[in-house]
Amino acid sequence: MSSWFVALFGGVLIGLSATGLLLFNGRIAGISGIVNGLTRRSSGAEWAWRAAFITGLVGAGGLTMHLLHQATASPARLPVLLLAGALVGFGTSLGGGCTSGHGVCGLGRFSLRSLVAVLTFMACAIVTVLLTHHVFGGAA
């Protein structure tokens, strides 16, 4: 199978997962929001579905990576990696979503707010890669 077809299939699975969470739990599958909800005080049931979703994601996703012999690491060096993590955490909390919440779910709901977010983070990520890989040379 060609790689674009596999990518499309993987994307459909992600879309079906988001559909399942909305159909069964009535919630938006925004990973940053689900994780953020785990680090704040909430009711037991509220905490439980979030923890269950993340457990499934980490367990089944990690297992699939092993089965497919994927072990690719980020090319970023340690200080850059930690800075990137902090920026992703801060930015998704401030902007109310990430690739899944604003991207997969928000665009699926035809939300203009999410479209603005997606175009903004795509543009900023593209400029960041341009600067770190071409303008200032060498991988970050």
Binding site: S17, L57, P75, A76, A84, G91, T92, L94
Partner: protein, 152 residues
């Protein structure tokens, strides 16, 4: 209990999808973002597959009176396009481009035991808590709830 089980299965499907789509590989992600260099279109197909699915399926799901194992749909209420939205997305984009990880793939990578994902993840959680502390302070002083952003 039923709700948690449904969420577990949905989370598992999400993780399998991310790994099959190779969105868990930061080099594929950076390749997609590298439009002025060695562009790799793989991720475009992932995003097309995912959003086409939700665009069709969400339409039917939201016509139901209520979800199957929850009392009501909880959809983001805010439609405002404001500074926190754009600033937050911009900050997230810079971090995404630097490491090639967004929250989902970082979690899956950590599940596979990838060292860079295991290092990225605590920094990400610290970043989100830092925002919440800053936002709480800000709203306490200026009574400006919109800086809090909404969680989707």
């Amino acid at each position: 209990m039923k709700a948690a089980f449904a969420a577990l299965l949905c989370g598992a499907l999400f993780g399998v999808g991310l790994a099959i789509a190779r969105m868990t590989d930061p080099l594929v992600v950076i390749g997609f973002l590298d439009v002025f260099g060695d562009f790799d279109p793989t991720l475009a197909f992932v995003l097309i597959g995912a959003t086409m699915t939700t665009a069709v399926a969400f339409h039917f799901v939201t016509q139901r009176a209520r979800p199957i194992v929850a009392a009501e749909f909880q959809l983001p209420a805010t439609r405002m396009i404001d500074l926190p939205l754009v600033l937050g997305a911009a900050i997230f984009g810079v971090g995404w481009g630097l490491a090639g990880y967004c929250p989902g793939p970082a979690l899956v990578g950590a599940g596979a035991g990838t060292l860079t994902a295991l290092l990225f993840l605590p920094a990400m959680i610290v970043g989100s808590i830092a925002h919440r502390l800053v936002a709480a302070r800000f709203s306490g002083r200026k009574k400006s709830p919109e800086i809090l952003g909404s969680q989707s």
